[in-house]
């Protein structure tokens, strides 16, 4: 990983690793100077992005801005060409693979809902449940009473109690979205990355999702990517606008809405 650091330093001359680490202790996630290119096309361009402990952050931006790619980098799906991703003060996420990152406490809901279609809803939640996920413990695992209660509770939260024993593949698109959120809850992560959670939901469902995400605030850090501005407005304290792979603006919903550059990106050209 020395190579990563050196490359990063080259992009940020004058700063050392120690200095970068020594920022406010309330910060949970550090994304620093991350660049990702696909065949020369920069999907992320020297992106820097920070999330505080317990914060609920919304990320908006036009299609192709790099929102999903940013999540890919954080969760280990995509390796950046340059930059630096830290979880807390000490965990270098670029050194970890996807399962370790998940175990470190980062959960993710995908833009395109992906659940285990052959498994029942209940089993989906069971698999996602936080716990020892090594091979042998998984082989011998038994559900304890507390764990059953937790699954039942989450089933209630996501409104799928009646569907608990149906295969997930049989659910509707919106229900799959809920199930994925439920899996995220079962993981009980420190940081939730939620990519377009309300696509395909009714207004009522949206409200419930907003409620749910707000209820997580404080205990968990949540990053929500969403195109639906009403939804964003209903939950957002701080909003980050991504454009062409870097942060264009950051602030409260009102601030960014009136930022002329943001207006131009959304309306202009």
């Amino acid at each position: 990983m020395g190579g990563q650091v050196e490359r990063w330093q080259y992009l940020n001359p004058g700063k050392t690793l120690a200095e970068t680490l020594d920022i406010s202790h309330t910060t949970l996630l550090y994304v620093e100077g991350v660049t990702v290119s696909f065949d020369g096309f920069r999907a992320l361009n020297d992106l820097s992005f920070y999330v505080d402990v317990g914060e609920l952050r919304c990320v908006i931006g036009p299609n192709g801005a790099g929102k999903t790619t940013m999540m890919d980098v954080i969760t280990g799906k995509t390796r950046p060409d340059a930059g630096y991703v830290f979880f807390g003060q000490s965990i270098n996420l670029l050194e970890l693979d996807e399962p370790r990152i998940a175990q470190a406490g980062i959960g993710r809901k995908f833009q395109k809902p992906t659940v285990f279609e052959q498994h029942q809803v209940y089993e989906n939640l069971e698999l996602a449940m936080a716990g020892d996920k090594r091979v042998w413990p998984t082989l011998t695992a038994r559900l304890s009473g507390a764990q059953r209660d937790r699954i039942d509770e989450v089933l209630g939260i996501i409104g799928l109690r009646d569907h608990a024993w149906r295969p997930a593949g049989a659910l509707s698109h919106g229900q799959k979205q809920w199930l994925e959120i439920g899996m995220l809850l079962m993981q009980d992560p420190l940081l939730l990355l939620v990519d377009e959670p309300v696509a395909g939901m009714t207004h009522q469902e949206m409200d419930r999702t907003a409620e749910l995400l707000l209820s997580l605030e404080g205990k968990h850090s949540v990053v929500v990517v969403e195109h639906d501005m009403d939804f964003v407005r209903s939950i957002a304290k701080r909003v980050t606008v991504l454009h062409q792979g870097s942060v264009l603006a950051e602030g409260s919903m009102d601030e960014v809405q009136h930022d002329p550059r943001v207006v131009e990106v959304y309306l202009g050209e």
Binding site: H119, E123, E126, A128, K133, T138, G169
Partner: protein, 361 residues
């Protein structure tokens, strides 16, 4: 308790095990106790044939475990089977002692023939049954572990993985054909005399091997059921259906894969070790890619991801093969080829797919 849980809801498996139990108890009696003249007598030839089929069935169960539940279409399981067989063959070879053609007390005939002066180091220990039995399990297991570690770590999946497993067995076949390897080259290992002091030609030994094969099949089946009904089994299916998603909820996919793959290879090794004393020979032909891919079709015929389907498929296809090749030797390859095409096209869930009471999916 664990057994009961493992078989819960597995009607096919319960029926299969019940039939197996009856056959295991009845056939040896009909063979040993009923006079040859009687209508009810079962010939030793049939007993051995059945025993051979049972080892194939165990092999098929091993393949179904990785293919049906983990989505790994291994075209190299014949190699693990053959390795188990070679381990047993080496033991049987050393049991021959000085009764070989050349009468050398230590060296097997083929080594005398090659003018070798001493036993290669890796033949040491194979004069002890327990060691050979251990090796029959460990060697395939370790090979599968190393191979799986390399392949799964680099995230080789799908047809890539299939062809690489085929390359593995192909490479082993080439290697075992070489005399210098010290496994009898072309001719392999044969002319066995006895196992644990029992004459391999005697009816009693044959019946005993048959019963051992049945027991191995039953145990192997139960072990696989326990795996697939555990949470690990559900993780395996999750990997089969959405590998990358499974990673994001925190499972080390490659470890799960390598563990189940290696376990499956060990089962195949056990099957091979039981197969060799019954057929009396093991040669590099067992590594041929055709063998490995043929056994995949047993599983496909029986029905994937059911385990008992693998048993049914292995028995049916092999029974069919025996009768078919006896009647129309020319046409067997046509039939086998057609079986491949028809099962994949028309019967994707195999015979088990006809049976009701299968969980949705």
């Amino acid at each position: 308790m664990g057994i009961v849980k493992a078989l819960k809801g597995d009607t096919g498996g319960q029926v299969m095990l019940a039939v197996l139990l009856v056959v295991t108890l009845v056939v040896p009696v009909l063979n040993l106790a009923v006079p040859e003249t009687s209508f009810w007598h079962v010939s030793t030839y049939t007993v051995t044939l059945l025993g051979k089929y049972l080892t194939y069935a165990l092999l098929a169960v091993a393949v179904d475990l990785v293919w049906g539940y983990l989505g790994i279409l291994s075209l190299g399981h014949g190699a693990f089977f053959a390795l188990g067989g070679y381990a047993m063959g080496m033991y049987l070879m050393r049991q021959i002692g000085d009764r070989g053609v050349y009468g050398d007390p230590i060296l097997p005939d083929f080594m005398v023939f090659l003018n070798w002066k001493e036993l290669p180091w890796f033949w040491n220990g194979f004069d002890m049954f327990w060691f050979a039995a251990l090796m029959a399990i460990l060697v395939p297991g370790v090979l599968a572990y190393v191979f799986g570690y390399l392949a799964f770590r680099s995230r080789v999946t799908g047809v890539y993985l299939s062809i690489i497993t085929q390359a593995l067995t192909y490479a082993l076949m080439l290697a075992f054909f070489r005399n210098e390897m010290g496994f009898g080259g072309n001719n392999g290992l044969t002319d066995f005399k006895e196992l644990l002091g029992f004459d391999l030609q005697s009816d009693g030994t044959r019946a005993g091997l048959f019963m051992a094969s049945a027991a191995a099949l039953a145990l192997g089946y139960l072990a696989c059921r326990m795996i697939v009904t555990s949470r690990l089994g559900r993780v395996a299916v999750a990997i089969r259906d959405a590998e990358s998603r499974t990673r994001f909820i925190g499972y080390r996919v490659e470890r799960v894969k390598v563990a189940i793959f290696a376990f499956s290879a060990m089962l195949a090794g056990v099957a091979g070790a039981l197969y060799v004393p019954q057929v009396g020979i093991i040669n590099p032909g067992e590594f041929s890619p055709l063998n490995s891919i043929e056994l995949v079709i047993w599983v496909a015929v029986g029905g994937r991801a059911t385990l008992y389907g693998a048993v049914v498929g292995a028995l049916m296809v092999n029974y069919g093969k025996s009768t078919f090749t006896a009647m129309f030797p020319e046409a067997w390859l046509f039939a086998l080829g057609a079986l491949f095409v028809l099962v994949t096209l028309l019967l994707p869930r195999g015979i088990a797919g006809w049976l009701p009471a299968r969980r949705a999916g």
